[in-house]
Symmetry: C2
Subunit: 117 residues, 2 copies
Amino acid sequence: MATKHDDAAEACCPSVLDAPLDQAEAEDLARAFAALADPVRLRLLSLIADAGEICACALLEPLGKAQPTVSHHTKALADAGLITGEKRGRWVWWSIVPERVAVLGDALAPARSNTPA
Amino acid sequence: MATKHDDAAEACCPSVLDAPLDQAEAEDLARAFAALADPVRLRLLSLIADAGEICACALLEPLGKAQPTVSHHTKALADAGLITGEKRGRWVWWSIVPERVAVLGDALAPARSNTPA
DNA sequence: CGAATGTATCTACATATGTCAATACGTGGG
DNA sequence: CCCACGTATTGACATATGTAGATACATTCG
């Protein structure tokens, strides 16, 4: 688990529309957006968000995907820091990390410098 | 050119964190986020945003990529509706489509229903 | 018109990724 | 202790994608 999103770079909230991103910032953001670049993962995210917290076992049926596939996608989202999982007994309960989602949202926020007065 | 982002679905601004997305919405959003899932395209986007409007010929050097590669990326962003190009003489001038970028940003905005009072 | 120049397309290729069957791992129940 | 069950990992495969050389297309200039 552990949500290995070792930021380091990504000073905090570089906006794509603000200053030119350097290579490192661009790669970090690209990795994050890549986690959102799959319809299954987006539905997964929305299912988790809607439930607030949900057992992985409850995701297979609505997604219509095999168990390893769903596990693969939860891992991708967790690696991106977008969700976090807690193991209780034999089940894993997933919930979203709203702050992390917000970082990506802010990266697409209107530019400050280019929309002055 | 033409920015073929034939939405149709994407009612307007489905938030990933709000209601569960249906298949079509998820696929549309995924396609859009996929356009952002590449560091070169993110830097491309930020270069265009920073300049307000920029000739394609001015993108090769800062990106350090071959001309066909840059053309490939501008096409990807244009297909996603994120940028639009205007041909003037032999040059193509690219600019961003802020409304479209905002749609993606809004899709990552905090949930309404799950953060009530 | 023909040469020069900027951009897009074609093609090829290496890598990345989504998918799932098989299997390993961990935990709780009998 | 062993089995059942939920989850993660491995392996294999088909498809998608980033990259750039070669080339086609378009426009301007002489």
